[in-house]
Subunit: 112 residues, 2 copies
DNA sequence: TTATATGCATAATACTCTTATGTATTAGTA
DNA sequence: TACTAATACATAAGAGTATTATGCATATAA
C-alpha cells in the first residue's frame, strides 16, 4: 500500500479509465479490479468511491442501471458520451502530469 | 496548469526532492524553481507551501536557518539526516506509484 | 453457526489545498 | 515621485476529498 496522500486526486481518473475499458462496472467490482491489477498496492475505500461515483453521475459523466442479482442489488455505471471524452482528457492529463513529475524528480544536482 | 486535484499529495515529495538537489532553499525560491522547471504547469501556492514546510520541520525532516538580506528576511530550509532518507523514500515511492498508474491507465480493453 | 465475502450507502472526522488577506522591503516604471 | 510588481514571510476561513467507522442486507464457506 502506498501512503494515502500519494493516491489523493487519482481516484476519478482510475475509475474513468476502468469504465472506458470495461463498458459497465459496479462499485464493488471496481474496488476489486483495482486491487487485483495493482497487486493490493491501491485499495479504494468505499467511503471514497461511492461519493465519487455519485458526483460523477451528477455531473453527467456516468449513467447508472440497477440490476437485481437474486435478492441482492447491483448498480452498474457506464460512461456517457460526455464521460468518454472526460475519461480521455483525464487520462491524457495524468500522462502529461507524470512526465512533468518524472522530469522534476529526476533532475540532477544543481548549483543554486 | 494542471487541475488542482492532480497535484494533491505531491507537494512534499517535490519539496524534498528539490532540497536533496539544492542543499538549501527558501520558500519563495522553491515556488519559483518549480514554476520554472515545469514551464508554469505546476505553481505552488504559499498557502499550501508554508504549512507544509512547517510541518516537515516539526517532523524533524527539515531544519531552518534565518538569514537577513538587507532588511528582508529569508528562511532557508535544509534536509536533516532523517530528511535525506525521507526524501529518497518519498521519491522512490512516487516512482513506484507512477509505474503502477502507468500500467493501470494503459491497460487494454478487457472482456469483463 | 459464525465468519467472510458481496454490495450498497452515509456520517463524523481529519487532512490538505484554495483563496483571501496581511505585513513589509525592494526594484522597476510611468 | 508615485505606483506597480516582485520579493518574502505568514495565517485564517472555507472548500473539497479521503479516512475511519458504522449500518443494512444477502450469500457462501468453514
Amino acid at each position: 500500500m502506498y501512503s494515502s496522500e500519494l493516491i489523493k486526486g487519482t481516484l476519478k481518473t482510475i475509475v474513468l479509465k476502468l469504465l472506458s475499458d470495461n463498458q459497465k462496472m459496479y462499485g464493488y467490482e471496481i474496488t476489486q479490479k483495482v486491487k487485483d491489477l495493482t497487486g493490493d498496492k491501491i485499495q479504494l475505500t468505499e467511503g471514497a468511491l461511492y461519493p465519487a461515483l455519485h458526483s460523477l453521475e451528477a455531473e453527467g459523466i456516468l449513467s447508472t442501471e440497477v440490476v437485481n442479482i437474486g435478492k441482492r442489488v447491483r448498480k452498474y455505471y457506464t460512461l456517457t458520451k460526455k464521460g468518454k471524452s472526460a475519461s480521455e482528457e483525464k487520462v491524457s492529463e495524468f500522462a502529461d502530469f507524470m512526465n512533468t513529475m518524472k522530469f522534476l524528480l529526476d533532475i540532477k544536482p544543481q548549483v543554486g
